[in-house]
Amino acid sequence: MSKPELVKLIDTTLCTACRGCQVACKQWNEMPGLRTKQFGSYQNPPDLQWNTWTLIRFQEYEDAQGNFDWIFRKDGCMHCTDAACVKVCPSGSLYYTPMKTVGLDHDKCIGCKECVAACPFHIPKYDERTDKVYKCDLCYTRIRESLAPACVKSCPTGALTIGNKDEMIKKAYARVAQLGGDANVYGDKFVGGTHVLYVLKHKPEVYEELPASPKVPLSVIVWKDLLKPLSLVAAGAAAAGVFLHYITHGPKTPGPEGQDKKGEE
Protein backbone atom coordinates (compact mmCIF):
# COMPACT_ATOMS: atom_id res chain seq x y z
CA MET A 1 0.00 0.00 0.00
CA SER A 2 1.48 3.31 -0.97
CA LYS A 3 1.67 5.95 1.73
CA PRO A 4 -0.10 9.27 1.21
CA GLU A 5 1.92 12.45 0.78
CA LEU A 6 1.55 14.16 4.14
CA VAL A 7 1.40 17.83 5.07
CA LYS A 8 1.43 19.24 8.58
CA LEU A 9 -0.47 22.50 8.96
CA ILE A 10 0.58 25.03 11.60
CA ASP A 11 -2.16 27.57 12.13
CA THR A 12 -0.25 30.25 14.03
CA THR A 13 -3.51 32.10 14.78
CA LEU A 14 -4.69 29.22 16.97
CA CYS A 15 -1.43 28.74 18.85
CA THR A 16 -1.45 29.71 22.54
CA ALA A 17 2.25 29.01 23.06
CA CYS A 18 1.60 26.30 25.63
CA ARG A 19 4.69 24.55 24.25
CA GLY A 20 3.13 21.14 24.69
CA CYS A 21 4.51 20.29 21.24
CA GLN A 22 8.03 21.18 22.33
CA VAL A 23 7.80 18.82 25.29
CA ALA A 24 6.05 16.03 23.39
CA CYS A 25 8.75 16.21 20.69
CA LYS A 26 11.50 15.77 23.25
CA GLN A 27 9.63 12.94 24.92
CA TRP A 28 8.96 10.90 21.78
CA ASN A 29 12.44 11.45 20.35
CA GLU A 30 14.11 10.91 23.73
CA MET A 31 15.99 14.18 23.55
CA PRO A 32 17.41 15.47 26.84
CA GLY A 33 16.81 18.92 28.27
CA LEU A 34 20.00 20.95 28.64
CA ARG A 35 20.77 23.94 30.80
CA THR A 36 19.43 27.00 29.07
CA LYS A 37 19.64 30.77 29.26
CA GLN A 38 16.94 33.23 30.22
CA PHE A 39 17.27 36.02 27.69
CA GLY A 40 14.21 38.04 28.57
CA SER A 41 11.66 35.98 26.70
CA TYR A 42 9.42 32.96 27.20
CA GLN A 43 11.20 31.57 24.15
CA ASN A 44 13.25 28.74 25.57
CA PRO A 45 15.79 27.61 24.55
CA PRO A 46 16.74 30.74 22.56
CA ASP A 47 17.07 28.79 19.31
CA LEU A 48 16.64 25.33 17.83
CA GLN A 49 19.33 22.98 19.16
CA TRP A 50 20.50 19.49 18.40
CA ASN A 51 18.23 18.31 21.23
CA THR A 52 15.37 20.73 20.46
CA TRP A 53 13.81 19.99 17.09
CA THR A 54 10.83 22.28 17.47
CA LEU A 55 10.58 25.60 19.25
CA ILE A 56 7.85 28.15 19.85
CA ARG A 57 9.23 31.53 18.89
CA PHE A 58 7.81 34.47 20.86
CA GLN A 59 7.79 37.83 19.13
CA GLU A 60 6.33 41.17 20.13
CA TYR A 61 5.07 42.95 17.06
CA GLU A 62 3.52 46.34 16.51
CA ASP A 63 2.17 47.23 13.07
CA ALA A 64 2.18 50.68 11.40
CA GLN A 65 -1.13 51.58 13.06
CA GLY A 66 0.26 50.80 16.50
CA ASN A 67 -1.67 47.57 16.93
CA PHE A 68 0.17 45.15 19.15
CA ASP A 69 0.39 41.42 18.54
CA TRP A 70 2.22 38.78 20.49
CA ILE A 71 3.23 36.33 17.79
CA PHE A 72 3.79 32.64 18.50
CA ARG A 73 5.38 30.59 15.73
CA LYS A 74 6.32 26.94 15.99
CA ASP A 75 9.69 26.65 14.25
CA GLY A 76 11.15 23.40 12.89
CA CYS A 77 11.93 21.48 9.73
CA MET A 78 9.71 22.45 6.79
CA HIS A 79 10.20 19.11 4.97
CA CYS A 80 10.84 20.62 1.52
CA THR A 81 9.96 18.75 -1.65
CA ASP A 82 13.18 20.10 -3.18
CA ALA A 83 15.31 19.86 -0.05
CA ALA A 84 18.77 21.45 -0.16
CA CYS A 85 19.87 19.25 2.76
CA VAL A 86 19.07 16.02 0.90
CA LYS A 87 20.82 17.39 -2.17
CA VAL A 88 24.10 18.05 -0.35
CA CYS A 89 24.15 15.08 2.06
CA PRO A 90 27.19 12.98 1.05
CA SER A 91 26.20 9.78 2.84
CA GLY A 92 22.49 9.49 2.08
CA SER A 93 21.73 10.14 5.73
CA LEU A 94 19.10 12.70 4.78
CA TYR A 95 16.48 11.18 2.52
CA TYR A 96 12.90 11.45 1.30
CA THR A 97 10.49 9.15 3.07
CA PRO A 98 7.59 7.46 1.25
CA MET A 99 5.36 10.19 2.73
CA LYS A 100 7.66 12.75 0.99
CA THR A 101 8.90 14.13 4.29
CA VAL A 102 12.65 14.48 4.92
CA GLY A 103 14.00 11.72 7.14
CA LEU A 104 17.38 11.56 8.85
CA ASP A 105 19.22 8.28 9.39
CA HIS A 106 21.66 8.92 12.21
CA ASP A 107 23.61 5.72 11.56
CA LYS A 108 24.65 7.20 8.22
CA CYS A 109 25.32 10.79 9.34
CA ILE A 110 29.05 11.62 9.25
CA GLY A 111 28.80 15.06 10.83
CA CYS A 112 30.09 16.94 7.78
CA LYS A 113 27.64 19.80 8.49
CA GLU A 114 27.02 20.40 4.77
CA CYS A 115 23.25 20.40 5.40
CA VAL A 116 23.66 22.99 8.16
CA ALA A 117 24.98 25.52 5.64
CA ALA A 118 22.65 24.46 2.81
CA CYS A 119 19.27 24.68 4.58
CA PRO A 120 17.46 27.92 3.68
CA PHE A 121 15.55 27.72 7.01
CA HIS A 122 18.64 27.09 9.21
CA ILE A 123 17.10 23.96 10.72
CA PRO A 124 19.72 21.18 11.06
CA LYS A 125 21.77 21.52 14.24
CA TYR A 126 25.11 19.88 14.91
CA ASP A 127 26.11 18.13 18.13
CA GLU A 128 29.84 18.00 18.74
CA ARG A 129 29.56 15.20 21.30
CA THR A 130 28.08 12.68 18.84
CA ASP A 131 29.54 14.39 15.73
CA LYS A 132 26.12 14.20 14.10
CA VAL A 133 23.38 16.53 12.92
CA TYR A 134 19.84 16.52 14.28
CA LYS A 135 16.49 17.83 13.10
CA CYS A 136 12.77 17.06 13.07
CA ASP A 137 11.90 14.00 10.99
CA LEU A 138 8.16 14.62 11.42
CA CYS A 139 8.16 11.62 13.78
CA TYR A 140 8.93 9.17 11.00
CA THR A 141 8.56 6.26 13.42
CA ARG A 142 4.98 7.40 14.10
CA ILE A 143 3.76 8.55 10.69
CA ARG A 144 4.89 5.37 8.98
CA GLU A 145 2.46 3.58 11.35
CA SER A 146 -0.25 6.10 10.42
CA LEU A 147 0.00 7.87 13.78
CA ALA A 148 0.11 11.64 14.14
CA PRO A 149 3.51 13.17 15.00
CA ALA A 150 4.03 13.79 18.72
CA CYS A 151 3.63 17.55 18.34
CA VAL A 152 0.30 17.22 16.54
CA LYS A 153 -0.90 14.65 19.08
CA SER A 154 -0.11 17.00 21.94
CA CYS A 155 -1.64 20.19 20.51
CA PRO A 156 -4.71 21.15 22.57
CA THR A 157 -6.03 23.99 20.36
CA GLY A 158 -6.01 22.43 16.91
CA ALA A 159 -3.20 24.72 15.74
CA LEU A 160 -1.36 21.60 14.56
CA THR A 161 -3.02 19.15 12.21
CA ILE A 162 -1.73 16.64 9.68
CA GLY A 163 -3.29 14.96 6.68
CA ASN A 164 -3.13 14.35 2.95
CA LYS A 165 -1.33 17.09 1.09
CA ASP A 166 -4.20 18.30 -1.12
CA GLU A 167 -6.70 18.36 1.73
CA MET A 168 -4.36 20.29 3.99
CA ILE A 169 -3.59 22.89 1.33
CA LYS A 170 -7.33 23.34 0.78
CA LYS A 171 -7.85 23.63 4.52
CA ALA A 172 -5.07 26.24 4.82
CA TYR A 173 -6.57 28.42 2.08
CA ALA A 174 -10.05 28.12 3.56
CA ARG A 175 -8.68 29.31 6.91
CA VAL A 176 -6.86 32.24 5.27
CA ALA A 177 -10.07 33.26 3.48
CA GLN A 178 -11.86 33.16 6.82
CA LEU A 179 -9.18 35.28 8.53
CA GLY A 180 -8.89 37.93 5.80
CA GLY A 181 -6.50 40.87 6.10
CA ASP A 182 -2.86 40.01 5.58
CA ALA A 183 -3.39 36.33 6.40
CA ASN A 184 -1.59 34.01 4.02
CA VAL A 185 -0.48 30.45 3.40
CA TYR A 186 3.27 29.97 3.72
CA GLY A 187 5.08 26.98 2.24
CA ASP A 188 3.28 25.71 -0.85
CA LYS A 189 4.92 28.09 -3.36
CA PHE A 190 8.65 27.53 -2.91
CA VAL A 191 11.27 24.75 -2.76
CA GLY A 192 8.79 22.53 -4.60
CA GLY A 193 6.29 23.02 -1.80
CA THR A 194 7.01 22.24 1.83
CA HIS A 195 5.37 19.45 3.80
CA VAL A 196 4.88 21.80 6.69
CA LEU A 197 2.56 24.73 5.95
CA TYR A 198 1.87 27.84 7.99
CA VAL A 199 -1.25 29.90 8.18
CA LEU A 200 0.26 33.27 9.01
CA LYS A 201 -1.74 36.25 10.25
CA HIS A 202 0.82 38.77 9.03
CA LYS A 203 3.00 38.98 5.93
CA PRO A 204 5.95 36.53 6.09
CA GLU A 205 8.43 39.45 6.33
CA VAL A 206 7.04 40.25 9.77
CA TYR A 207 8.18 36.98 11.34
CA GLU A 208 11.64 36.66 12.86
CA GLU A 209 13.88 33.93 11.46
CA LEU A 210 11.41 33.19 8.67
CA PRO A 211 12.76 33.76 5.12
CA ALA A 212 10.18 35.53 2.95
CA SER A 213 11.19 33.68 -0.21
CA PRO A 214 13.33 30.67 0.68
CA LYS A 215 15.06 28.75 -2.06
CA VAL A 216 17.74 26.15 -2.56
CA PRO A 217 20.89 28.32 -2.39
CA LEU A 218 22.48 29.12 -5.76
CA SER A 219 25.78 27.79 -4.41
CA VAL A 220 24.18 24.37 -3.94
CA ILE A 221 22.88 24.35 -7.51
CA VAL A 222 26.25 25.43 -8.97
CA TRP A 223 27.96 22.81 -6.86
CA LYS A 224 25.69 19.81 -7.26
CA ASP A 225 24.05 20.33 -10.66
CA LEU A 226 26.97 21.89 -12.52
CA LEU A 227 30.45 21.29 -11.07
CA LYS A 228 29.79 17.83 -9.69
CA PRO A 229 28.91 16.18 -13.03
CA LEU A 230 31.38 18.42 -14.85
CA SER A 231 34.26 17.16 -12.70
CA LEU A 232 33.81 13.64 -14.04
CA VAL A 233 33.33 14.91 -17.58
CA ALA A 234 36.59 16.87 -17.31
CA ALA A 235 38.46 13.85 -15.94
CA GLY A 236 37.06 11.65 -18.69
CA ALA A 237 37.95 14.21 -21.34
CA ALA A 238 41.49 14.50 -20.00
CA ALA A 239 41.93 10.72 -19.97
CA ALA A 240 40.48 10.40 -23.49
CA GLY A 241 42.60 13.33 -24.65
CA VAL A 242 45.91 11.85 -23.55
CA PHE A 243 44.99 8.47 -25.01
CA LEU A 244 44.19 10.11 -28.34
CA HIS A 245 47.47 11.99 -28.14
CA TYR A 246 49.34 8.76 -27.56
CA ILE A 247 47.82 6.94 -30.51
CA THR A 248 48.00 9.88 -32.94
CA HIS A 249 50.88 12.20 -32.10
CA GLY A 250 52.79 9.65 -30.05
CA PRO A 251 55.40 10.06 -27.35
CA LYS A 252 58.45 12.30 -27.53
CA THR A 253 61.62 10.32 -28.11
CA PRO A 254 65.13 11.45 -28.99
CA GLY A 255 67.09 10.25 -31.99
CA PRO A 256 66.13 9.35 -35.56
CA GLU A 257 63.46 6.83 -34.55
CA GLY A 258 61.52 9.53 -32.73
CA GLN A 259 58.83 11.62 -34.35
CA ASP A 260 60.35 14.81 -33.06
CA LYS A 261 63.81 15.39 -34.32
CA LYS A 262 64.68 18.22 -32.07
CA GLY A 263 67.41 17.77 -29.53
CA GLU A 264 69.91 16.44 -32.02
CA GLU A 265 72.37 19.18 -31.46
Partner: protein, 224 residues
Protein backbone atom coordinates in the same frame (compact mmCIF):
# COMPACT_ATOMS: atom_id res chain seq x y z
CA UNK B 1 72.06 3.46 -13.48
CA UNK B 2 74.36 3.33 -16.38
CA UNK B 3 76.67 5.37 -18.47
CA UNK B 4 75.07 8.35 -20.15
CA UNK B 5 72.73 9.01 -17.24
CA UNK B 6 72.66 12.27 -15.35
CA UNK B 7 71.10 13.21 -12.04
CA UNK B 8 68.05 15.46 -12.45
CA UNK B 9 66.43 15.48 -9.00
CA UNK B 10 67.65 15.11 -5.45
CA UNK B 11 65.93 12.99 -2.81
CA UNK B 12 64.39 16.00 -1.06
CA UNK B 13 62.65 16.98 -4.28
CA UNK B 14 61.32 13.48 -4.79
CA UNK B 15 60.06 13.22 -1.21
CA UNK B 16 58.13 16.48 -1.56
CA UNK B 17 56.74 15.40 -4.92
CA UNK B 18 55.46 12.09 -3.59
CA UNK B 19 54.13 13.59 -0.36
CA UNK B 20 52.11 15.98 -2.45
CA UNK B 21 51.11 13.35 -5.01
CA UNK B 22 50.06 10.61 -2.58
CA UNK B 23 48.17 12.95 -0.27
CA UNK B 24 46.50 14.53 -3.31
CA UNK B 25 45.41 11.16 -4.71
CA UNK B 26 44.16 10.02 -1.32
CA UNK B 27 42.16 13.25 -1.07
CA UNK B 28 40.73 12.72 -4.58
CA UNK B 29 39.73 9.17 -3.71
CA UNK B 30 38.11 9.95 -0.36
CA UNK B 31 36.60 13.14 -1.78
CA UNK B 32 35.03 11.22 -4.66
CA UNK B 33 33.64 8.79 -2.10
CA UNK B 34 31.82 11.64 -0.40
CA UNK B 35 30.86 13.71 -3.44
CA UNK B 36 29.06 10.92 -5.28
CA UNK B 37 26.69 8.45 -3.60
CA UNK B 38 27.75 6.03 -6.37
CA UNK B 39 31.29 6.11 -4.96
CA UNK B 40 30.24 5.73 -1.30
CA UNK B 41 31.61 2.17 -1.54
CA UNK B 42 35.13 3.64 -1.42
CA UNK B 43 34.46 4.19 2.29
CA UNK B 44 34.72 0.44 2.92
CA UNK B 45 38.48 0.89 2.51
CA UNK B 46 38.50 3.33 5.39
CA UNK B 47 36.05 1.76 7.80
CA UNK B 48 32.94 3.66 6.78
CA UNK B 49 31.93 7.14 5.69
CA UNK B 50 32.44 8.67 9.12
CA UNK B 51 36.05 7.48 9.30
CA UNK B 52 36.64 8.46 5.70
CA UNK B 53 35.71 12.04 6.60
CA UNK B 54 38.54 12.09 9.14
CA UNK B 55 40.99 10.49 6.69
CA UNK B 56 40.07 13.21 4.18
CA UNK B 57 40.40 16.07 6.67
CA UNK B 58 43.70 15.00 8.18
CA UNK B 59 45.22 14.07 4.82
CA UNK B 60 44.37 17.65 3.92
CA UNK B 61 46.87 18.80 6.53
CA UNK B 62 49.60 16.62 4.99
CA UNK B 63 48.70 18.01 1.56
CA UNK B 64 48.88 21.55 2.93
CA UNK B 65 52.37 21.05 4.34
CA UNK B 66 53.60 19.34 1.16
CA UNK B 67 52.08 22.14 -0.90
CA UNK B 68 53.88 24.81 1.11
CA UNK B 69 57.19 23.00 0.70
CA UNK B 70 56.52 22.52 -3.03
CA UNK B 71 55.80 26.22 -3.42
CA UNK B 72 59.01 27.12 -1.59
CA UNK B 73 61.07 24.62 -3.55
CA UNK B 74 59.85 25.12 -7.11
CA UNK B 75 58.44 28.63 -7.22
CA UNK B 76 61.50 30.33 -8.71
CA UNK B 77 62.03 27.66 -11.36
CA UNK B 78 58.42 26.83 -12.25
CA UNK B 79 56.23 29.60 -10.90
CA UNK B 80 57.45 32.47 -13.03
CA UNK B 81 57.16 32.78 -16.80
CA UNK B 82 60.22 34.08 -18.64
CA UNK B 83 59.40 36.20 -21.67
CA UNK B 84 59.82 36.13 -24.58
CA UNK B 85 61.27 32.60 -24.70
CA UNK B 86 58.30 31.01 -22.95
CA UNK B 87 55.94 32.72 -25.40
CA UNK B 88 57.82 31.23 -28.36
CA UNK B 89 57.37 27.79 -26.84
CA UNK B 90 53.65 28.36 -26.28
CA UNK B 91 53.19 29.41 -29.93
CA UNK B 92 54.20 25.93 -31.08
CA UNK B 93 52.69 24.20 -28.01
CA UNK B 94 56.14 22.83 -27.28
CA UNK B 95 55.83 20.47 -30.22
CA UNK B 96 53.33 18.40 -28.29
CA UNK B 97 50.35 18.90 -30.57
CA UNK B 98 51.78 19.04 -34.07
CA UNK B 99 55.15 18.44 -35.67
CA UNK B 100 57.66 21.17 -34.98
CA UNK B 101 61.18 21.02 -36.38
CA UNK B 102 62.84 23.06 -33.69
CA UNK B 103 61.08 23.58 -30.42
CA UNK B 104 62.22 26.86 -28.84
CA UNK B 105 64.45 26.29 -25.87
CA UNK B 106 63.24 27.34 -22.44
CA UNK B 107 64.65 27.25 -18.93
CA UNK B 108 64.59 24.26 -16.61
CA UNK B 109 60.82 23.99 -16.87
CA UNK B 110 58.88 24.70 -20.03
CA UNK B 111 55.72 26.88 -19.96
CA UNK B 112 53.51 23.80 -20.10
CA UNK B 113 55.09 22.47 -16.94
CA UNK B 114 54.86 25.92 -15.40
CA UNK B 115 51.17 26.18 -16.23
CA UNK B 116 50.53 22.83 -14.59
CA UNK B 117 52.59 23.80 -11.58
CA UNK B 118 50.70 27.06 -11.20
CA UNK B 119 47.38 25.24 -11.55
CA UNK B 120 48.34 22.91 -8.72
CA UNK B 121 49.59 25.78 -6.57
CA UNK B 122 46.58 28.04 -7.15
CA UNK B 123 43.91 25.36 -6.87
CA UNK B 124 45.84 23.59 -4.12
CA UNK B 125 45.67 26.77 -2.06
CA UNK B 126 41.97 27.08 -2.96
CA UNK B 127 41.41 23.51 -1.74
CA UNK B 128 43.22 24.14 1.54
CA UNK B 129 41.36 27.37 2.31
CA UNK B 130 37.91 26.14 1.28
CA UNK B 131 38.53 22.80 2.95
CA UNK B 132 39.49 24.43 6.22
CA UNK B 133 36.35 26.55 6.25
CA UNK B 134 34.24 23.48 5.39
CA UNK B 135 35.88 21.66 8.32
CA UNK B 136 34.87 24.39 10.80
CA UNK B 137 31.79 25.98 9.20
CA UNK B 138 30.31 27.19 12.49
CA UNK B 139 33.18 29.66 12.85
CA UNK B 140 32.33 31.48 9.61
CA UNK B 141 29.27 33.31 8.21
CA UNK B 142 26.92 30.97 6.38
CA UNK B 143 26.95 33.10 3.21
CA UNK B 144 30.69 32.48 2.94
CA UNK B 145 30.55 28.81 3.93
CA UNK B 146 27.96 28.05 1.23
CA UNK B 147 30.31 29.12 -1.58
CA UNK B 148 33.23 27.10 -0.24
CA UNK B 149 31.61 23.88 -1.48
CA UNK B 150 31.35 24.79 -5.19
CA UNK B 151 34.86 26.28 -5.03
CA UNK B 152 36.13 23.04 -3.52
CA UNK B 153 34.39 21.13 -6.31
CA UNK B 154 35.96 23.44 -8.92
CA UNK B 155 39.40 22.79 -7.47
CA UNK B 156 38.74 19.06 -7.64
CA UNK B 157 37.62 19.39 -11.26
CA UNK B 158 40.87 21.10 -12.24
CA UNK B 159 43.25 18.98 -10.17
CA UNK B 160 41.65 15.62 -11.01
CA UNK B 161 41.64 16.35 -14.76
CA UNK B 162 45.22 17.60 -14.44
CA UNK B 163 46.23 14.32 -12.81
CA UNK B 164 45.57 12.30 -15.98
CA UNK B 165 47.56 14.67 -18.17
CA UNK B 166 50.40 14.82 -15.66
CA UNK B 167 50.49 11.04 -15.35
CA UNK B 168 50.64 10.65 -19.13
CA UNK B 169 53.29 13.29 -19.78
CA UNK B 170 55.44 11.98 -16.95
CA UNK B 171 55.34 8.38 -18.14
CA UNK B 172 54.48 6.99 -21.58
CA UNK B 173 54.08 10.43 -23.15
CA UNK B 174 57.75 11.21 -22.51
CA UNK B 175 59.53 7.86 -22.24
CA UNK B 176 62.52 7.91 -19.94
CA UNK B 177 61.31 10.78 -17.79
CA UNK B 178 59.49 8.88 -15.06
CA UNK B 179 62.84 7.86 -13.55
CA UNK B 180 63.33 11.50 -12.58
CA UNK B 181 60.78 10.91 -9.84
CA UNK B 182 62.02 7.47 -8.80
CA UNK B 183 65.80 7.11 -9.01
CA UNK B 184 66.42 10.73 -9.88
CA UNK B 185 68.58 9.78 -12.87
CA UNK B 186 67.75 10.23 -16.54
CA UNK B 187 69.27 9.41 -19.88
CA UNK B 188 71.14 12.55 -20.92
CA UNK B 189 69.83 12.19 -24.49
CA UNK B 190 66.22 12.38 -23.30
CA UNK B 191 67.02 15.22 -20.93
CA UNK B 192 68.81 17.16 -23.66
CA UNK B 193 65.83 16.72 -25.98
CA UNK B 194 63.36 17.99 -23.38
CA UNK B 195 65.44 20.57 -21.52
CA UNK B 196 68.36 21.57 -23.78
CA UNK B 197 68.88 24.93 -22.20
CA UNK B 198 68.90 23.56 -18.67
CA UNK B 199 71.52 20.96 -19.62
CA UNK B 200 73.68 23.69 -21.14
CA UNK B 201 73.28 25.82 -18.04
CA UNK B 202 74.24 22.98 -15.74
CA UNK B 203 77.22 22.09 -17.88
CA UNK B 204 78.28 25.70 -18.00
CA UNK B 205 78.09 26.00 -14.22
CA UNK B 206 79.73 22.63 -13.72
CA UNK B 207 76.69 21.28 -11.87
CA UNK B 208 75.77 18.43 -14.15
CA UNK B 209 76.28 15.13 -12.34
CA UNK B 210 76.89 12.29 -14.75
CA UNK B 211 76.92 8.62 -13.83
CA UNK B 212 80.43 7.27 -13.19
CA UNK B 213 82.01 10.70 -13.12
CA UNK B 214 83.35 12.44 -10.09
CA UNK B 215 80.75 14.66 -8.44
CA UNK B 216 81.70 18.26 -8.86
CA UNK B 217 79.15 19.84 -6.62
CA UNK B 218 76.98 17.89 -4.27
CA UNK B 219 74.42 20.62 -3.90
CA UNK B 220 73.12 20.92 -7.42
CA UNK B 221 69.44 21.43 -7.71
CA UNK B 222 67.77 22.44 -4.53
CA UNK B 223 68.65 24.15 -1.37
CA UNK B 224 65.86 23.62 1.07
Amino acid sequence: MKKGYVQVTDSYERIIHWSLAISCLLLCLTGLGMMFHTFNFVSYLFGGMHNMKFVHNFTGIVFFIALLLAIRMWWREAGVFVLPEDMEWVKVAGGYLWHVDNVPETGKYNPGQKAFYLAVVIFGVVMVITGFIMWFPAKFPVGLVRWMYPLHALGFLVIFAFFFVHLYLGTIGNPGTVQAMFSGWMDKKVLTMLHPKWVKEMEHEGKLIAWGEQKKDDTHGHHA
